[in-house]
């Protein structure tokens, strides 16, 4: 597993769906997922995308008029959760 991945969050679930469809049509990697815990304590829908396509994706959203909330780079947790650490013992 890589140490990080990138997600885009949306204000409206429908925008996430349109975003997914648009990227698939362009042949770009995209996977919808719950907003990662590190980004927010909410539980909405975000899109996982490859980090090195950031500018291309943002341009695409501008062209296609898809409103996005924000772009995040998320580090994968490295098992530093105190609670689970205790469980593993």
């Amino acid at each position: 597993m890589e140490d990080f991945y990138c997600v885009i969050t949306f204000h409206v679930t429908q925008h996430a769906l349109i975003f997914e469809k648009t990227l698939i049509d362009k042949g770009l990697d995209v996977k919808l997922m719950p907003v990662p815990r590190q980004v927010s304590s909410s539980c909405g829908t975000a899109a996982k995308v490859s980090c090195n396509k950031k500018s291309e994706i943002i341009q695409l959203c501008k062209d296609k008029n898809i409103p996005v909330d924000s772009f995040h780079r998320v580090e994968n947790p490295k098992g530093n959760n105190w609670f689970l650490k205790h469980l593993k013992k």
Binding site: T13, Q14, P34, S41, G44, L84
Partner: protein, 364 residues
């Protein structure tokens, strides 16, 4: 450790605690029931006078404390609000009416299933149908709008409410009602309920488990992250019941505690609950957690739940083990129609605003 296993463990903790609370005195298959517990609280403060369901449930106070404290520690606490607050109030209002016709919130539905109550399967199917209908609205652009940051003090109101309830629970003033018989009189020891409630609140805040969110994501985006939490609740509760509550475990439709077998109304009432939950973005337990971490809209939603629960008993909407009441059936139908019109109106208006915005861009 994979995300799935983590969610399963988080859910499992909730399932285990629910079985323990039932063993220690909570009503049958009601180790945890958010709708029922708010209903009991509504009764305790005299908003309704159904004498058998009045008690300040320490579990609810615990959920709020647990989620509040851990959100402060982990810096998730943020006062926010202003996202269609009145609409949320009424979605909470009708959600609980549905839940009380079924006799349990979605979480209790899972716990009922894990103790052999097959009526809960009918409820679950109804719940899934409600979520499916809600998803159709999401796909068409349904949103209650984004919330904005609020004055910090507003986020502390719900935790303060919990403190006041705790004081009432401990000193029992004359104006507070506690049931002496019926489900309201069946309770685990206060300290145990409070402490285990806090654990549940903390676990739910960290994991973000939501019965509606789990099924919604599975259907809408084929993501099973939250569903594993629900599976964890079910499986661990089932195992724990077999060990701790074996006497009460029996598989079937008849003679289940605080349940009835009106299939149609079990189905439709949970359809209403599922629909409201998706449109709110979370089931009652999730709303409680959000309210505890500063979401004032969720705070108003739980006020809607409390008021709806009070009306449920004042207007004779809530079911009894004998079955759904005529008034309850009418209320479920009105609820479904009301919520469908509401969601449709929101979509229509949102799309209108969107096309107007596009015009602006074109002209520019």
């Amino acid at each position: 450790m994979g995300g799935k296993r983590k969610m399963f463990i988080y859910g499992g903790i909730i399932g285990l605690i629910a079985a323990i609370l039932m063993k220690m005195g909570n009503p049958g298959n009601m180790g945890i029931c958010v709708a029922c517990f708010y209903r009991d609280i509504a009764g305790a403060v005299g908003l309704h006078r159904a004498e058998v369901v009045q008690y300040i449930r320490p579990e609810i106070i615990g959920f709020i404390f647990g989620a509040f404290i851990i959100s402060i520690v982990k810096r998730d606490f943020k006062s926010r609000g202003g996202s269609s607050t009145l609409i949320r109030f009424f979605l909470g209002f009708f959600l609980v009416i549905g839940a009380l016709v079924f006799l349990g919130c979605p979480l209790r539905m899972i716990l009922r299933l894990a103790n052999g109550d097959l009526n809960a399967i009918i409820g679950l199917v109804g719940y899934l149908v409600g979520i499916f209908i809600g998803i159709q609205f999401l796909k068409k652009g349904y949103t209650l709008g984004r919330s904005i940051e609020q004055n910090k003090i507003s986020g502390y109101i719900v935790p303060t409410m919990a403190v006041v309830l705790l004081i009432f629970l401990v000193i029992k003033p004359a104006f507070i009602f506690f049931s002496t018989e019926g489900p309201g009189s069946m309770k685990a020891p206060v300290i145990l309920s409070l402490v285990l409630g806090m654990v549940v609140g903390a676990v739910l805040q960290r994991s973000r488990i939501c019965t509606a969110g789990g099924f919604r994501d599975a259907m809408l985006i084929k993501d099973y992250h939250f569903l594993w939490g629900i599976i964890g609740i079910f499986i661990v509760n089932l195992i724990a019941n077999l060990i701790l509550n074996f006497d009460s475990f029996h598989i079937g439709f008849a003679d289940q505690p605080v349940a009835h077998s009106n299939h149609l109304w079990n189905f439709l009432s949970m359809t209403l609950a599922g629909l409201c939950s998706v449109l709110l973005g979370g089931c009652p337990v999730r709303q409680t957690i959000l309210a505890s971490e500063g979401d004032t809209d969720a705070g108003v939603t739980i006020l809607g739940v409390i008021v709806g629960a009070a009306f449920s008993h004042n207007f004779d909407l809530a079911s009894s083990p004998k079955g759904a009441t005529p008034n309850g059936k009418i209320a479920v139908i009105i609820g479904i129609v009301f919520v469908l019109i509401l969601a449709y109106g929101i979509i229509k208006n949102n799309n209108k605003i969107k096309s107007q915005n596009k015009e602006v861009i074109k002209n520019a």
